[in-house]
Symmetry: C2
């Protein structure tokens, strides 16, 4: 089965928003053996949208669109699909009630515009949207199908996983794909590619790489018929991949370093506190993105000023004067200080120059010091990350710091 994907909206063709939805849909549907063969994007113009749907159905058995299901006047997808299929619009009672309930829960009344989101081409199957006001739908068109999804990525992703993928799988009985993702840190993409040469032959699996800073992933995909034990084949491949990449693999699946660190802290029954200077709260933010992190994360201090470093963390004025705020010495005192103040088992600290200003010849932008303190010991390191963007320096420092906690816990592992 072939699919063509269609992103709708002026913000896409106008260059305001990058269409990330189509790549997500493509990746998900491949897993159930549906081949994405073309992408289209059209502005909020009914004729352009109609032509895009017609072309999508020329290329494929199913056209999957994202966007244009909102309540506003420039949301035209539903009307265009009705025109494409020559079907009248029909109000769906359950969808209308769901929209009304959502608004009432927030003490609001739906507007006439919102009622529009309960209209679908007659004969469509509605795909409920439990987290937004725009349901998706499937409409048959001349023996093929159009599937329309909301453009909000969070809602689109939920509908793809819960409705679209099962619907496609049930109509595509011949082929199955299975994939496994490995999340990697500490290797460049080209180095990862070279390390895996010969580990997986093209006959047994397909390898793909994806760099979504600060994450680097490799995906292994195997292909078979329904009933084949694709998971067993992936298990065997995983063993070989992990043997080659070692601790560079920090997780199986699309996980953040914070997930792995959280899992290890729980397993080891340890707690963590963080003193952040150049990362500005990003490490605390990432750690607390993990549900249940309050059981192991005790305290974060964003000590942007020297006063805060001294007063709250007990960094000595002599250290600051002799070595500066950006030094391994200061980082070590910050790590030990936040550990002491919080009573955590581990104290992690970052200090550095995120830029664009503040660099000197001796400590250029991208100079970063990371320290980790534990019972009676402290580790620290100075990195020269280079004068990249402020975001990049913050993001890479946070990743390096979290990775240090991971490697520390793996080394001290008695499990």
């Amino acid at each position: 089965m072939k699919a063509a994907l269609l992103a709708i909206g002026d913000e896409i063709t106008g260059g305001i928003t990058t269409d990330t939805n189509s790549a997500f849909v493509a990746e998900q549907i491949r897993a159930v053996g549906v081949e994405p063969v073309a992408f289209f994007a059209a502005p909020d113009d009914p004729d352009a949208i109609l032509r895009a749907f017609q072309r999508a159905l020329e290329e494929a058995d199913v056209a999957i669109s994202t966007g244009g299901l909102g309540p506003t006047a420039d949301d035209l997808t539903t009307a265009c699909v009705a025109r494409l299929a020559s079907l009248p619009l029909h109000e769906d009672e359950p969808s209308l009630r769901a929209i009304e309930t959502r608004f009432r829960e927030r003490g609001l009344e739906p507007t006439a515009n919102n009622r529009k989101q309960a209209l679908f081409p007659e004969g469509s199957t509605v795909l409920p949207n439990p987290i937004g006001t725009a349901p998706g739908f499937v409409t048959p068109v001349d023996g093929k199908h159009v599937i329309c999804l909301p453009g909000v990525p969070r809602e689109m992703r939920l509908l793809v996983k819960e409705s679209v993928v099962p619907w496609l799988a049930s109509r595509n009985p011949e082929e199955r794909f299975a994939s496994r993702i490995f999340s990697v840190f500490g290797l460049a993409e080209a180095a990862l590619d070279e390390l895996l040469v010969g580990v997986v032959s093209p006959d047994e699996a397909r390898l793909a790489f994806r760099a979504a800073f600060p994450r680097l992933q490799t995906r292994v995909t195997v292909r078979g018929a329904p009933g084949d034990d694709l998971e067993a084949r992936l298990d065997a491949l995983e063993e070989r991949v992990r043997e080659r990449l070692g601790h560079h693999v920090y997780a199986t699946g699309d996980a953040g370093m914070e997930d792995t660190v959280g899992k290890l802290l729980r397993e080891h029954g340890q707690t963590l506190a963080v003193a952040e200077s150049c990362t500005g709260g990003l490490i605390g933010h990432r750690i607390t993105d993990v549900p249940g992190s309050s059981t192991y994360f005790l305290l974060g201090v964003v000590s942007y000023s020297n006063e805060a470093k001294q007063q709250l963390l007990g960094v000595s004025p002599q250290t600051l004067a002799a070595h500066g705020a950006v030094s391994t010495q200061t980082a070590e005192e910050m790590a030990a200080g936040v550990r002491r103040v919080s009573g955590a088992a581990l104290g992690l600290a970052t200090t550095g120059i995120a830029g664009p200003g503040g660099g000197t010849a001796e400590k250029p932008v991208g100079t970063v010091c990371i320290a980790l303190a534990w019972e009676g010991e402290v580790w620290s390191h100075r990195y020269e990350l280079g004068a990249r963007s402020r975001d990049w320096v913050k993001g890479m420092t946070a990743q390096l710091a979290l990775d240090r906690v991971r490697r520390h816990l793996l080394q001290t592992s008695t499990v």
Copy 2:
């Protein structure tokens, strides 16, 4: 003049890589009055690429492709354009010499594959690529044009700026576009749309909306001839938009709330410290994403535990016992505490239940308290944001808290 954009490569349609090139090209060409009217993406398949070019030229005066100009067998763009235009391929001497020079400089010999990158459809204009081996080219096709660019973003961007934009500007003397973006908070998308009804007529400008949580933006676009004062028209429209939306507009342009808060803090010569519980460092992270924030951001404390709230911020055990950690009373003491400890003019605090666990009947997931303390005074509020995802609750709480600082500074404005 209209343009259709075409991204070529299996990695795009396979969902491995997100096509960010087309959005870049779209944004750049709009500035010289070229309207991007459709996007297409095709896999590394010659028939699919040919159909995509044909469709692109049905939609537009010029088709601009990215990708498929590399040296390998799956790089098919040039051959497809030659077929589309019914032109033979012709070796371009200067391009061949440039490729040979690039290789020699690195002590390598170009392969036969690399010579392929010096072949172009006869009559094409070559667009030199000083930073890579794949030049771009412009080929006339039946009174229209095809422009082919390499897919490597860095090379593509250079060619767009140095070759494509000047080429298009010289051929599009009639039209110019200008846009202005307004960043909005405190209104749902449908409410924003309704508020703007009648403020801007479709004849004078086009409105587009974009929700990229927690940002909501509206973009106003006007159209005219070269020499028209489009900025003056945008100024007049801005006055009407701002009159209608008031303080819901927090910035002109694609700005974060943290940019506006930083700007206001500088203007008012004030400093800020933050005590975060449920936001876990996100507010500090966002504030410190702004270059130069160290001049006004003094301290962040991520007081995830009650001990931290008491010890570092001086929240009283009685308050915690009587009202709980998630209460306006605790938030107020956190805000006053972080202000006192840091010596900042403003102390901001958040405490809440981000979920998915931790909710009770009285304080369900999504219950959030925000407080702001300043000289002799403190403001606080309890919000019921609803049991959405953990990310969403953190993101919305951070946005509400930063917006509170903004509104406070606007109210106390003496400027």
